[in-house]
């Protein structure tokens, strides 16, 4: 049987970084939803918004999101190396 150890109050800096990356990954789609909905609130003063501007904005957002995800996912590395299965979902800071 695996000895049940007390969860540590603090984790090592490497694990701390990985956990923060996970937090970032969690928030990423929400930021995405917010940004993608943003063009809906553009315009005003009778001036119509140009499709090309929206297109550039959307692809820009898209690209940035992909880039952030790529960087954060890479920082996480192999999940099983650092995520203790016992308290994988408990947030230990």
């Amino acid at each position: 049987m695996k000895p049940v150890t007390e969860p540590k109050l603090f984790v090592e800096p490497r694990n701390y970084r990985a956990r923060r990356m996970v937090d970032g990954l969690r928030i990423l789609p929400m930021a995405g939803v917010f940004l993608i909905a943003m063009p809906l609130f553009w315009g005003g003063a009778g001036d119509s918004v140009k499709s090309s501007a929206v297109m550039l904005f959307l692809f820009g957002v898209w690209f940035v999101l992909i880039l952030l995800n790529f960087l954060m996912t890479r920082r996480i590395g192999k999940e099983r190396d650092w995520l203790d299965p016992i308290n994988s979902e408990t947030s230990v800071d």
Partner: protein, 885 residues
Amino acid sequence: MLNLLIGVCLAYVIALFAVAFWAERASMQGRANWLRSPMIYTLSLSIYCTGWTFYGAVGYAARSGLEFVTIYLGPSLVLLGWWWVLRKLVRIGRVQRVTSIADLISSRFGKSNGLGVLVTILAIVGTTPYIALQLQSVTLSFGAFANSESLSNNTAALWLGAGLALFTILFGTRNLDVHERHHGVVMAIAVEAVVKLCALVAVGVFVVWGVLGGIGPVLHEIDTSKVATWDVNGNRWIALTFLSGAAFLCLPRMFQVLVVENADEGHLHTASWAFPAYLMLMSLFVIPIAVAGLKILPTGSNPDLFVLSLPLSLEQDALAMFAFIGGFSSATSMVIVASLALATMVSNHIVMPIWIKWSEHRVREFGDVRRIILISRRFAILLIILLGYIYYWISGGGAALAAIGLVSFAGVTQVLPAMLGGIFWRGANRIGATAGLLVGFAIWLYTLFLPSLGNVYSAAFLAEGPWGIWWLRPQALFGVTELDPLVHALFWSMSLNALAFFVGSLISFPTPIERLQGAQIVNVYDHSPTQRGWSGRAAQSEDLMIMAQRILGVKQARALFQAEVQNQGGQGYLPDPTPEFLRTLERELAGSVGAATAHAMIGQTVGGTSVSVQDLMAVADEAAQIMEYSNRLEEQSRELTRTAQELQSANEKLTQISIQKDAFLSQVSHELRTPMTSILSFAQILRDGASLKGQDQSRYASIIHDESVRLTRLLDDLLDLSVLENGQVNLNIAKGRVQDLIDRSIATVVAGDAAMQMQITCKIPDDLHSLTTDLDRLGQVFINLISNAKKYCDAASPKLQISAHQSGCDVIIDFVDNGIGIPAQDRDFIFEKFARVGEQKTGGAGLGLTICKEIIARLGGEITYLSGHRGAAFRVQVPVNFHAA
């Protein structure tokens, strides 16, 4: 041109077959590692981009501008947020050996086959039009090349369908893998993913740099085109993003590649950024192509075919051909995976349960279950593609079909509440899931699917509702008129679906299996290995072996059983059907036939359905038996310990007695020797010394006499003891008072020693019964005890207290003095023969108490040493009336 087209198509298809065949071979030879790389996984996800998206996105963009991009943004967000849902889905899929989305739902909600059937039907209804759409896109693209002069659309669609069915059957149902993974198919669709991306990017690059003249001019063209302004409907924007994201999770084919074909959770890490990038590239050139098509092509041309007609009109035949192959790839890969996923669902959730029911009593005689599954899958593939073709044929491939993509999405999305609720909420149960699915499905049919068919509802029905009930108008349910029909249907179906799911779960109670599965799936990260178990008592390993061979194949089944035998530490070929083994076996089988079917099959063989009260009682019984057995063992071990202790103390006693005996023998020899020596020497003096005076002579003679008396006494004692021990003593029974007896005894002792300082007190009640026993012998005991007290009591003013009382039929007489008593360690053997305590200042032989003990035993009583008194204390207990033993 047409012949060339068909030739290229055939060549492409043959190349695909070759790739798939080669991948299968490689995987069978164990060289499949790189076939399972994260990039292949990412590319296989691209079956999301079908022929409809390949051609239709440009058409969509030409009609309504940027709105098309929501179809790609939704899945991108889902993958960007992979940590939330996909990670868990993939883990569950791996741990539970999920074979399809219907299997996941059925497995989560207590392996309910009813739910599996419901999801399967929903998926078929939702996917059939989509397959029709793919056939249409390919035939349309054929038409763009050939103007349909020599080949009717229907014929082309039929040939296409047949070819796809052949491919799917060949590579999708070759093997029945426990993981339900198809290397050949995955490799082929990965190749197709590259082809379609390259095709679209090639057309895009050609349009941007070859036709429009660079990025600046493109932006200018966009601003001057008819889609120049951003005027999307906000509701649709949000709803479509949500819908495409949800469909990405719920579409049977997406579930197949995302979860079922996933070989490693790590692949998700790569796919989470690579697939959104793929989607971004796929949509990057859509607007430029649409704008260019609108500008260059004559008005009235079909915008859905801009990708083809643009290069064709610019005389870029090779590029057009490439684009055609891209579209062809998109359509074929979708149809292949969709029909494969649906066929798995149909065979696992519809055919197998029926077959099991039908052959309930004939499993053993019947042929190979494995073959049944494969055959049923092949037929299901044919059937599904045929259904798609029939749908296409009936609908006539008109514009109505173009809208069906989103309708289809909305249909399969009805699984979303049950799926997400199932994996995140332990309280979700079967009743809730069924209610949600039925409600959502019904509303989707009523508000979206039937209206989309065109002429199902009359105008009056649409405007006034059934029987004039205004709040039941199909496109304005409950008076909600301000929403776009698609958003309206999505809004109501999803919200009421979720509500029914939630309320149904709240008010009903789940079965034990549901609760166990719920806990397992929701807490999948906890690695809890326990599942509701089988009681293997009734199961025959041989039956299980036969069944496993039919499903897994002989080799795999043997390997599995052999591994288990080794695991159990047994010998031979068949392991014991322990609950753990049955659980493992069920999971393995579930990989081939789905959770519900595997559950049913094991249940049939084992002859019991999961945990019954009897099982629990049996388990409890077993536990009780084990407890009892261990109690008995403990008792035995305690007894043994006790015996060992007794033996040890007996041994110690024996050793001590032996030492005492040795000591006594030397003492006896000494005792005998001393008087003998005196007697001998004085007798010699008397014999030789004629000159002795008369005074001396008499003194020496009296010494000889005294020593002889002492010798005689010693020998008397020994003789007495020997007589007593051998039971040869003659008792002289008489009646007398205790008081008299004690008085006599004291007098005897005192008489022998006039200088005695001991003070003796007697406390004897007057009403004490007279004793009928051998009074002389009892008196002997009393004398012995009193004289012992006189001899050994070392107090400054020695006192002896004698008290007597009645106790039932016995009389008890205590002799307590005020000396130091007998040390605790010596009390055990003071009654033993030859025992003497401490330093001997008096010349006793150590036989007195032994004789006392023997006498009292003869008289039917008992003499004990009383602890708890300051001095030495003896208790004599004798019966009032002596009965000869």
